[in-house]
Every structure is written in C-alpha cells, then in structure tokens.
C-alpha cells in the first residue's frame, strides 16, 4: 500500500519533471517546476526528512518559483524574443542522459551496505545543545558549512546587484509595483504579514527541537516581505540603504563572531561550549534568520531597476 503510494508519487514527480523539460513555453515549464517542487516536498516527508520537506517547499518550490516567474515578466519587458528556436533533436544527448541515469541507478545497487555514521552522530547529539539532530548538524557539527552557506547567499546578492545598469544603480530594488489602493492585493498584503511573521519566527524557534530552523523560518519571513512589497505596502529599499545592508550581514557576522569568540576563549574556532551551546545556537539562528530573510527577499526582487511606463 505505502509502496504503491510512493510509486505513484515518484511517477508523478518524474512525469512533471519531464513536462518541465519538454513542455512548450518557458512559462509553462516554470509552472510545472513549481508543481514539481511541491511534489518533491511530499517525497521528502515520505523519506522521513521533514526539515528538508519544509526547506524544499519554502525555498525549492516557493521562492525559486517566484524567482523564475518574476524573471519571465522581466524578460518580457526587455523586449527579448520570447523563445528562441528550439535546438535540433538531440538523440545522442538523450542517450547520454539515459546513460547517466543508468549509471546512477547501477551505482545504487552497487553501493555497499551502509556503514552508518549515525552512531557517532547519536553519541555527539547530547552535547550539541539542541534536540533536533538536523539543527545540531547545521548549527553545530557542520557549522562551518552553514556559515559558508550564509556567505554564499550574500555573494549571490552582491553579484546580482552588480548586474544593475549603471543608470539604475540609485533606484529602488526590483520593478516598482502599481497596486490599486484598497484592492484585493493590498488587502492580502495587509492580512498576511502578521500571520506570516508569526509563522516565520515560530519556525526559527522550534528549529532547536523539531523540524524548522533559520533557513525555513527566514524563507517564510522573506516571503512575507515579498508579499508586502508586491502589495505596495512597503517600498523596496535602495542598494545604498545601509540599515538593510547591515541586516544582510548581521547573521553571518554573529555566526563568525561566535566562532572567533570560541577560538579566542580557547575552546576552538566555532566551538560552542556545551553549557551555552543551546543559547548560542538560538542567538545565531535569530540573527541568521533575519539576514536570510532579507537576503532571500532581495535575491528574488532582483537588482535596482527603473520602471518602464507604458
């Protein structure tokens, strides 16, 4: 019964993925991709990875989807042709891709029985300061990865802003939104944020013990910000907005400072002494979530752009 459910889900995922690649029209491909992301997050639940499911739904499907949809809109406004002529039929390419899939499938069956590091991890978990093992890995065991990852976000944003045209540099981020006052979008924008902010903070808060954490929570907060901007409730800042820039770096900075403090106090770089580990992780997560929220939202909004009035 459960296997049939899994099989159906997998079949659907593969079919939607195929539709994403083969379907006609960029817009359609992106819609399929969003559906794909949602289905994938169900798959993550099935694999027992609820943290990943949340991240996939929020980031993989949600924000990435919005990012792509926004890009379609921007592309249309650039006056670039809608869709270049499709390439020639790719039989050899298709065979090569089938070969790659085949190789990976073969590898699955050729894998040795898992030697699980789970035991080491389980042994270390009580000293990690949090109960959710995924959070323990992200914020403590492999904190260096996570620190670098938060920096990756920042690097992408700096790179993205550089893509602005010189004449647009001092404009506000993204395209200006024109919303009918009192319209449905504005009402939605007013209704959602209180709930959204609550959900976001809640996700960060429970990340210590249960699925959730800085990334998932930060994403929800970013989404709230996006909706508010779309609804015209808040105006997007300019790249010179120093408060915002400070918000972008506060998370990595706190993280880094905690790491250096550990080194300076003799515990070691990024070492969180056991008694204060829980508190430290929570503090880092709060700061990180703020930065992630701001950075993700800016990533989706895009570089500053002067609106083209029709």
């Amino acid at each position: 019964m459960t296997l049939a459910l899994d099989a159906t889900l997998c079949g659907l995922i593969v079919a939607v993925a195929l539709a994403t690649v083969l379907g006609r029209g960029v817009f359609r491909a992106i819609v399929f991709f969003i559906v794909y992301g949602l289905l994938l997050s169900v798959a993550w639940v099935r694999l027992g990875a609820v943290d990943v499911a949340l991240a996939e739904a929020a980031i993989g499907a949600g924000l990435t989807g919005v990012l792509f949809l926004a890009a379609v809109g921007k592309l249309a406004r650039t006056g670039a042709e809608a869709e270049p002529a499709p390439g020639r039929p790719h039989l050899p390419a298709a065979l090569a891709c089938a070969g790659l899939t085949g190789a990976l499938a073969w590898a699955w069956f050729a894998l040795p029985e898992p030697e699980r590091p789970g035991s080491d991890l389980a042994a270390a978990l009580p000293r990690a300061g949090v109960e959710n093992p995924v959070t323990a890995v992200l914020l403590n065991f492999r904190a260096w990865d996570t620190l670098l990852e938060s920096i990756v976000l920042l690097a992408a944003l700096v790179g993205l802003w550089l893509l602005a045209r010189d004449e647009d540099w001092h404009d506000r981020l993204g395209l200006p939104q024109h919303v009918r006052p009192g319209g449905v979008m504005e009402s939605f924008g007013r209704l959602l944020p209180p709930v959204g902010v609550l959900v976001g903070i809640y996700l960060v808060y429970i990340g210590a013990d249960r699925p959730g954490g800085a990334f998932q929570g930060g994403t929800v907060l970013a989404a709230v910000g996006l909706v508010a901007a779309l609804a015209g409730l808040i105006r997007t800042p300019r790249v010179t907005g120093h408060l915002w820039r400070a918000a972008m770096v506060v998370g990595p900075l706190v993280f880094l400072a905690a790491g250096v403090a550990g080194a300076a106090l003799g515990a070691g770089f990024l070492t969180l002494p056991e008694p204060i580990a829980g508190g430290a992780i929570f503090a880092i997560e709060i700061a990180l979530a703020s930065s992630i929220a701001v950075t993700l939202a800016f990533l989706v909004i895009g570089p500053p752009e002067r609106g083209h009035r029709r």
């Binding site: 073969w106 590898a107 991890l121 990756v152 690097a155 010189d166």
Partner: protein, 489 residues
Amino acid sequence: MSALVAVLVLPLAGALATVALPGRAARIAASTAIAATLAAALALAAWVAARGVPRLEIGGWAPPVGIAVEADGLAAAMIVMTATVMAAAGLSARHMLAPGAAGARAAFGFWPLMLLLWAALNAVFVSRDLFNLYVGIELLSLAAIGLVAIEGKAAALAAAMRYMIFALAGSLLYLAGVVLVYAAHGALDAGLLTDRTPARTDGLALALMTVGLMAKTALFPFHVWLPPAHGGAPAPASAMLSALVPKASFVILLRLWFDVMPDQATEGALALMAALGTAAVIWGGLAALVQERLKLIVAYSTVAQIGYLFLVFPLAGGASAEMPWAAGAWNGAVFLALSHGLAKAAMFLAVGQWMAARGGDRLEDLRGIATAMPMTAFAFALSSITLVGLPPSGGFTAKYLIMTSAFAAGQWGWALVMAGGGLLAAAYLYRPVAVIFARAEVPDSPLPSRGRQVVPLILAGAAVALGIASAAPFDLLSTGRPQAAGEGL
C-alpha cells in the same frame, strides 16, 4: 593554529564589512582585511614550515561528525601565493575604480567579491571535507562570476553567463560524486576516506567529481568559457580569475587522486587526463597565436598552462606513485601552479595599466608602450619568461622537474609536450613582447604612478625568484606530504 583560523576568518570578516559599510569606509575595511590576511598567510606558512601541519577540527567535532581543516605544505604555499596576488590586485584596483555612476556600482561590488573569492580559495585549500569543498567551490564560482560581469557590457554578461553554465554544471557533477561517496562510505572526510574499504561505485564517483572539477579548471575541452570571461573582466579581476580560481579545483583534483582515492587511479584514466592536458597545451597555444587582443592572448595562455598541470597525473599517480620520480612530477606541477599564478597576475595587471593609458588592448594599441612604462613592460617580459619556462624562473624549475620525471618514467611523450608547449608559448608571447618594445610615437596619456607600475614587477619578480630560491618553497611543499619529500631522483 590561530593563523589558520585567521586566513579563513579575516577575508570573510572583511567581506561582511565591505558589504555593510558605505563607500570610503568600505575601502578602508577592504585594505585592512587585505593587509591582515596577507600577514596571516605569511604567518601560516612560517608556522607550517617550522612546526608541521596544523589541523583544526572545527567546532571541536572530529570527523565523521564534524569538519576538519588542515594546512599542509601545498595548502600553505597556495595560500601565500593567493595572498600575494590578491594584495597586488587590491593595490591595482584601488585606482581602477573611478568615481561616477559606473564607479559606484563597481566599487560596491569589487571589494566584497574579491574578499569572498579569497575566503573561498583559502577555505578550499585547507578543507578536508568533500561536501565542505562543494560549498567552497560554489562560493568561489559565484564570486568569480560576479567579477566577470562587473563591467556590465553585453560581451561581459555573455561571458559571465557562459561561465555560469560551466561552473554550475561542474559543481553539480562534483556534487554527484560526493553523493555517491557518502552513500557508499557514510563519510566525507578525506582522511577517513583514505582508509575506507573501496566500493564498486568509487570509480564512478571519482569520474563524476573529476569531470566536474575539470570543467571548473577549464581543462580542454571544457575551456571555452575561460577566454571571454578572463579577457572581459577588469584587469585586477582577470588577474585573480586567471591566476587563482583554476588552481582551487586543481588542488581538489590533486587531493582526490593522490590522497583520497589513489586506489582508483587506473593507467588509462591518468593517461586520458594528461592527454586532455596535451590537447589544452596545443589548442590554447594555437588560439593564443592568432588573437589580436592582448588580454585574450594572456587568457588563452592560461588554457595552455592549465594543460601542463594535468601532466602530473600519469607521472605521479597510479603505479607511478611509489616510484622515485613521482615526487619530482608532483612538486613540479605544484611549482608550475604557483609560478603561473604569480606570472599571470603580473601580466594581467600590466595589461590593465596599459589599457588605461592607451584605451585598448589590441596589439596595435600597445605598440611601443615599453618606452612610456618600462617597468610594467619588463614585468610582462619576465612573466613571459616564466610562462615559457626559461631559466631562471619558477616555470623553468617546474618544467625541469616534470621533464626529468617523464624521462625517468619512460613516458617521454609528456616531456616532449612540455618542451613543445614551451616553444608554442614563446611563439605566442613573442608577438606582444616585440610589439610593446617596438619603437613608436607614444601618444600623450596620463601614466600611472611609479608605485603602481612596480606592482606587476614585484609579482613577476616573485615568479622568477621562485626559480632562483626554490629551496625554501620546496621544503614548505613537502610538509605533511611524505611521498613528496626527499630528493626524488
């Protein structure tokens, strides 16, 4: 030990500061971070040379739970080379970012991206964890792509886009290999993996990672993104991109093939890598021969020079690993990577100053520039000597070591590649050298100050000095690497 933390943390902190602070303060923060990181890099090298390999288990968690970083001789040497190039690029860039609208945008982006690139390089050089390396090379790629796009012109954007496609594809292939490794062994740490029980999937995993890293290193036939990207970026960015970025993925390749999975190195695979390197030497050299823009000549030369690096695999890997000549080949390749980094950065910085003075980098634009700017011209000539592999230079020492290993191994074909590649390099570098030293009416243009002109000369001098005083760098390189120590042949 603290130097190891410092080289990781300082550029990151600097990058965060440059993002958060306004214009002038950001520049001061960047300068401070550059100086501090340079000092930390030198301190680290001194530490490694004196006391051996520092190892840091980050967060106090030993693998497989946590991530370990180690600064062996290879890492320390690369970090010092990176710091040198970065400091030079930073010095040159300060004056390149003019005020005005374009300046504001570029000035905002350049410093954070440069420092992020630096942080990523240092992180990659010391990391012992395969997944951490993935995050590191992603950070590296994103920062590098940003630097390519910084000019904002259509050509630069197309180059950045193409680079992005290759970089992303490379990252994903590498990630695929990492996934297979973790699935098979439940570990990501290089040390743990060295002692693993080999699995049947290891060959596939290594192949995937290797192809991905080759794409990032721009080895033939994955090189097409490199010349437009490096040729289109502003000179200090090109210097970093060409001198440093390919080295990061090359160092990972070295670690994979010599430390992590030496058991998977079959003769055929090793020979194939060297064959691709050979193709790169030939293709890059021929392409450089027909370019009319100096930056493209220099960029294609990077394609060719990267090819040399891959000759190390059949000479020091597989069955050769235990042989007396392996050390020579390995040291030679690393030496080549180091001296190429210094020389290539010197070239790009010199060309950048000439472009500022003459308004273009077509060979005809640069005729006779040596009269106006003799020091940079001399730097370019010295760098050419290193790239051609003429004595006395780091390039020559490397070439001699690799060629000797090749003959000793009975694989003299690779030695001929080295020799022929040197001639090809001489051919394509002769044109620019002859043009810049030719006599010409020099149009009046403001020249950069002597202090700035001397920067490329210092880099080129370092590349040459690497050949004259190679004993100390050699000892450093062999630190933490018993196979590479000793006399070799």
